[in-house]
């Protein structure tokens, strides 16, 4: 269909969004070309100096970026796997099905900043319940203070918080699947596993891609969890890009530089997400 009315549908939203964003984004780009910091707040012009610094003299940013990639890919895969299993579980008729469905949704609805404080007490190595219970087995993992375990802890919290999102999307997808292919598969004598591999999974592929991409976008912003749980420590072992940008911007008030970081980050994210989504489409659908 093609009517001139189409603009009347699209433009209000588009222009509201652009209207609200054009200044911030333009300002950010301009800011990235300035040396605005605590002491000299102002839009001077220093050319691409900030970008030069970023590309030649800031391994911490790149390290944090790769760490972020690792964390978000891991958490999103885990969320996908767990979310899918849970969705499959309550898809069928089990007892208290509805209760479980509600239960699995709740973590998503908690404010991360607040919930993570609770998690910090939860993993507190001498006052929290986790190590208290584990001490029965004579172990006391340093959840927040070991370089590697701290990452695991962050992953656990992220998985807890956001698996429900994946779960909801996938469950809704499952519930909307047509019945015929399953009947056909049953007639052909396919067992539950083969049914999953050959029927459920392919049918769910498009939904999965959408869900994974959206979660990757959200997961890449992971910050509250890091801030509250470990402040990026121990060392820099849990610093992620957005946390690093946050530190440079709102802690050290190097606005010019943090704008350059942000802009670079944005470009990288848009490119990599586009590539990832193309890859996923190839991987999940063409097969």
């Amino acid at each position: 269909m093609n009517f001139k009315h189409k603009f009347a549908f699209l433009f209000p939203g588009l222009f509201v969004l652009i209207g609200i964003l054009i200044f911030p984004i333009g300002f950010m780009i301009r800011l990235s070309l300035s040396s605005w910091d605590t002491f000299y707040p102002g839009l001077d012009f220093i050319g691409i100096e900030n970008y030069v610094r970023l590309f030649t003299d800031d391994s911490r940013f790149w390290e944090s970026f790769f760490r972020l990639s690792f964390l978000s890919v891991t958490t999103v895969s885990l969320q996908y796997i767990i979310g899918f299993s849970l969705a499959l579980m309550v898809w069928r008729d089990i007892i208290f099905k509805r209760f479980f469905r509600v239960l699995f949704l709740i973590p998503m609805m908690t404010t991360p900043v607040i919930m993570t404080v609770i998690w910090r007490t939860f993993f507190h190595e001498s006052l929290g319940p986790v190590n208290d219970i584990l001490s029965i087995f004579g172990i006391a993992p340093p959840w927040l203070t070991n370089e590697h375990l701290a990452k695991v802890t962050i992953i656990i919290v992220e998985v807890w918080q956001w698996t429900p999102f994946m779960f909801l999307l996938l469950l809704a997808g499952l519930l909307s699947l047509p019945k015929e292919p399953f009947l056909a598969a049953s007639v052909d004598g396919a067992g539950p596993i083969r049914k999953f591999i050959y029927v459920t999974f392919p049918l769910m592929a498009p939904i999965s891609i959408g869900a994974i991409i959206i979660r990757l976008i959200e997961a890449s912003k992971i910050m509250d969890t890091v801030y509250v749980l470990t402040s990026g420590g121990p060392g820099t072992s849990t610093e992620t890009s957005s946390y690093y940008i946050f530190v440079k911007g709102l802690r050290e008030f190097q606005f010019g530089y943090s704008a350059a970081l942000s802009f670079t980050y944005l470009i990288i994210m848009i490119i990599s997400l586009t590539i990832i989504s193309k890859l996923l489409v190839k991987l999940l659908i063409k097969k």
């Binding site: 040396s35 910091d37 605590t38 002491f39 707040p41 003299d57 911490r60 507190h124 190595e125 001498s126 006052l127 190590n131 006391a140 340093p142 959840w143 927040l144 203070t145 370089e147 470990t230 402040s231 990026g232 420590g233 121990p234 060392g235 820099t236 072992s237 530190v247 709102l250 802690r251 050290e252 008030f253 190097q254 606005f255």
Partner: protein, 512 residues
């Protein structure tokens, strides 16, 4: 404060200050000051009640409750009752106070009349703050403030922050352990050394390691050596400077602790600091499980809850331990920070042997009035009221308020003995410890107060936490910090930093 401690306090007050507490019309109306009643002064209840600010609104950005946030709100409520002003208080976590005020400042706005923060924000904030008017600087209430804290609140002689709190780092220890003859014997037998309050960081480490990981107070729980702020956030570097001061603050080499004032060469990676960081890495072995991720709150919970033998940062852990209801009330002691058996001499490039001790007058709560505020009179009156004699005396007794002594009159041990039920010995050692470092010691370290201070301290936090996590050796870690400091210097401008740093060095070198 629970009702019980009110009554308890009231009884004590009735006995000692019978005349003062009796028939004071202000303490009837404001139970907060029941212990003392109104104390006369320019900003007393009596004086404040004569002002009329009705119809005006005062806005305050302060810390989260309870620490500093609760007294802010409490005094706001009282101030409002007395003057008719509307007072809006907004609370933020400590880490966000700087940006909460700085973002509007930089955008040319003044949404808050009063901004709470830390004393080391002064250089970044002062261009947006109104200087404290002479009227307040000269009043007796201010003259009672220790010299060190007047210095902390001022920039080159001009006061920008209104003193409402005093902060310093000192050593807290479990008196019941250190003074226990049995443990003293046992320690001697096991190690050949004497068990006493440590005077060097090495001793601190040895004793803490010895008392780590076993149930020395027989409560069924394990106890540990030391609780310290090791979490990589805005506070950990302060703990590091506390540990480094005695190794690097050499009274014979004035002209800079953090930088060499002449060359602006960072000193952060000299052997003194490296030695201190080495000690600190060692300390990860005698902190409680998870201790390497302790923030100040954890430290307070840990020492205040009786979990560790030592702790050495702000007052809070000590006050928490000494509060009514604490399981270790009157079982703790206060002492100056440990020293070192040698101190680095950067001019000779060698160690000066001999005991050296340098107190760290750490930054603490500080509060300023926005330069663009249209209610500056009211704002200063509020702050003055906040810190008036009666309020201050009541505030320092409540651990969770985070308000600590900073007035000369606070160092009378009798206050703590009478009002808070402290053991006289403890009260005396506490008062002596504090007054000693603030009034008499001349080898003090003051917080770094230069433009972009957060960049410098954040670099320290990153570097030292890498060392604590074992990612880097102490030398490597501090070399990295020094390199980062040089970069920041280049960015911010060496001369700008030098100019600001000179102001702090003057304090350290006792030049007025």
């Amino acid at each position: 404060m629970t009702l019980k401690s009110y009554t308890g306090g009231l009884l004590v007050a009735m006995l000692i200050f019978a005349q003062g507490a009796y028939a004071d019309k202000w303490s009837d109306q404001f139970p907060h000051i029941k212990n003392t009643g109104d104390i006369p002064g320019a900003c007393s209840y009596e004086a404040t009640s004569k002002k009329d600010y009705s119809g005006k609104t005062l806005t305050i950005s302060t810390h989260a409750v309870p620490v500093m946030g609760e007294p802010t709100a409490l005094h706001a409520e009282q101030f409002s009752k007395l003057t008719g002003a509307t007072v809006d208080v907004v609370h933020s976590p400590a880490g966000d106070l700087y940006s909460k005020a700085m973002v509007p400042f930089q955008a040319g706005q003044a949404p808050y009349d009063i901004v709470f923060g830390f004393s080391n924000f002064i250089r970044d904030w002062m261009q947006y703050l109104a200087p404290v008017p002479d009227k307040y600087v000269n009043m007796p209430q201010m003259q009672d403030v220790t010299k060190a804290h007047q210095g902390v609140a001022s920039w080159d002689g001009q006061m920008y922050q209104f003193p409402v709190d005093g902060d310093r780092h000192y050593l807290k220890y479990r008196k019941d352990v250190i003074d226990n003859p049995e443990y003293q014997k046992k320690y001697k037998a096991d190690t050949g050394r004497t068990l006493k309050v440590p005077t060097t960081w090495k001793e601190y480490g040895e004793i803490a390691a010895y008392f780590n990981g076993w149930d020395w107070d027989n409560d069924g729980e394990l106890e540990y050596g030391s609780a310290e702020v090791m979490k990589k956030d805005d506070l950990m570097y302060a703990a590091f400077f506390s540990r480094s001061a005695s190794y690097s603050k050499n009274p014979r080499t004035p002209g800079g602790f953090y930088f060499d004032l002449e060359t602006m060469e960072p000193l952060i990676n000299n052997p003194g600091f490296v030695e201190a960081l080495g000690d600190w890495v060692e300390a990860t072995k005698y902190v409680p499980p998870g201790g390497i991720n302790f923030g100040l709150g954890d430290e307070i919970n840990s020492f205040g809850g009786g979990q560790t033998l030592f702790s050495f940062s702000w007052d809070d852990a000590f006050v928490a331990a000494m509060e009514d209801g604490s399981p270790i009330k009157n079982k703790v002691g206060a002492a100056p920070l440990p020293g070192a058996e040698r101190v680095w001499n950067r001019e000779d490039g060698s160690w000066d042997i001999g005991h050296n001790q340098a107190p760290y007058i750490v930054w603490g709560w500080a509060v300023g009035v926005a330069g663009k505020s249209t209610n500056q009179d009211m704002a200063f009156d509020y702050l003055c009221f906040f810190a008036n004699g009666a309020n201050h005396r009541a505030d320092i007794a409540i651990g969770r308020f985070g308000v600590n002594p900073f007035k000369k009159s606070d160092f009378d041990p009798q206050i703590y003995i009478d009002h808070q039920g402290w053991d006289p010995l403890i009260a005396k050692s506490y008062a002596a410890t504090i007054v000693g470092m603030e009034e008499f010691n001349t080898n003090r370290v003051f917080p770094l107060r230069v433009p972009g201070v957060f960049q410098f301290t954040s670099a320290v936090a990153v570097g030292t936490s890498k060392a604590l996590a074992g990612q880097l050796s102490p030398q490597e870690a501090l070399d990295e910090v020094a390199a980062e400091w040089n970069k920041i210097l280049d960015r911010v401008g060496k001369d700008v930093v030098r100019e600001a740093y000179a102001v702090g060095v003057k304090l350290e070198d006792n030049i007025n």
